[in-house]
Symmetry: C2
Subunit: 321 residues, 2 copies
Amino acid sequence: MARRAVVTGGAGFIGSHVAEDLLNDGWEVVLLDNFRTGRREFIQENEKSSSLKVYSIDLLTHDKLSDLFSDCQRTYHLAANADVRFGPSQPERDLEQNTIVTHRVLEASRISGVKEFIFSSTGSVYGDSKIIPTPEDAPFPIQTSLYGASKLAGEGLVQAYSEAFGIKSWIFRFVSILGPRYSHGHVYDFYKQLRVNPNELMVLGNGSQKKSYLHVKDCVEAMKCALKESTSGVQIFNLGTEEYCEVKDSIGWICDELRLSPKVNYGSGNQGWIGDNPFIFLETEKIQRLGWKPRITIEEGVRSTIRYLIENQWLFAPRNS
Amino acid sequence: MARRAVVTGGAGFIGSHVAEDLLNDGWEVVLLDNFRTGRREFIQENEKSSSLKVYSIDLLTHDKLSDLFSDCQRTYHLAANADVRFGPSQPERDLEQNTIVTHRVLEASRISGVKEFIFSSTGSVYGDSKIIPTPEDAPFPIQTSLYGASKLAGEGLVQAYSEAFGIKSWIFRFVSILGPRYSHGHVYDFYKQLRVNPNELMVLGNGSQKKSYLHVKDCVEAMKCALKESTSGVQIFNLGTEEYCEVKDSIGWICDELRLSPKVNYGSGNQGWIGDNPFIFLETEKIQRLGWKPRITIEEGVRSTIRYLIENQWLFAPRNS
């Protein structure tokens, strides 16, 4: 019998890649998404497959959620509010989408007897770490964003469920992810501005913010690599590359791909917004010791993302919801 | 004009001592409690004071919570589900009482312009720390209980609110607290058993679990000491003593105070229950550098708690709720 996995946020940027990869590996996939940032277009190639079941539901409110987890061996909980920037203007959103929903997905998994749980966390949980690159066992951090706090809370719940109910768990702390289906974040925002006005670009912060990015294909490979290790309890892995760039490097690559030379208007300071980490750069020795290595450079990640966006103009169309 | 503070859980064990101390120092106190574990009897001496306003409300559901925080300069958020043991049988409770309620109290504080926030956390957030005594900047911990996870989540929210909204915050990670008005935990449980059957005592775990306790008077003094320091941002302090005991030491003191020699039946293993930390022992150098020192030993704390329980038999009467 085929193994079966739930993928929450399975129509999202990272989730759709994970779902696709599981289907390719012969898994049955129960895909849950509220299609707010997830897109039908991301999964349409696989929707014909009898191994894929898609449910358009709200994880925060859906009744009898655990019914959807029946006969599943594994949960990939990738649904989240992934936008770190709007925390202070919507203080409930991160709590609801990243903490309470994680609790509901854990409960549904527990009730249905799921024994493996994968959680997508973030390098933002390290706050403004003094140790860079930041290892998984960095000093107990102080949260600087509601997003980071809500993900840290999710991590804690996953860990406590592992201990209390014998669920194996893998927690991945991502840097920002780039690549096909990328549809929020700075590369998207910059391209969106330049589509409207190719002569001018407004940048939050002074452009010297250092950022680390990982390509979504490398990200999916890293998760697979970690999952191959048979473990018990909780495994935590940073996922990122060994290089970083500044926002202005990225702007250079974007403009080069677009053959544009806009006037770039920088803001001030090294924070793009309140709670923005000036620099998230993760130590990835732990995952690399398992044999994984990123294959795509940040520059190629940014460039290929722009090419993807150019080819997928529908992403910029107004949405009904 | 008198300064005014909200004390949530103000009719509880620690909260009632904090409220009393604030009134003695000339503060006006808005005391919020759902009176589930809080008791009218703990605050009755102060209820005559015109400086005390008591509201019997549910922080999880109360509408327009922020109205109660008007004109307050400071919030002491001490309301919590403080019992670590029942997490796995009631997986929602810690999340609701310790995480979601903390978010609601933060929101109410923010909306009302409260600028100082005090949060009672726990040494349980360190999980099963490898570093003992455990300092505030111990390596990024892994949660081993739903209680610890829910408090860690609360901490993260407090920290993110500090960063986003300029609220000064103090987070106190307590060991277990003993003293007058203590009404849950092992001293209470053992005495309750011995009241019914003075000849036999059942103990969870093998009795060698090491535990650190702090007397509630020392705890309140430590918080006052930390609050005197004018700071900005987030301050985190462990609160505990420099000594520890084993559960069987404590049993010895309890039996001695009661003049009893029961047959003690130990369980097995060094965990009293799933998620029990074998040993919580906190490094308290940071708070001691500010001039605070605990005055009451663990032995005297346990003995005085038993004497308090003997004098307050009403604590063992069945309750209506």
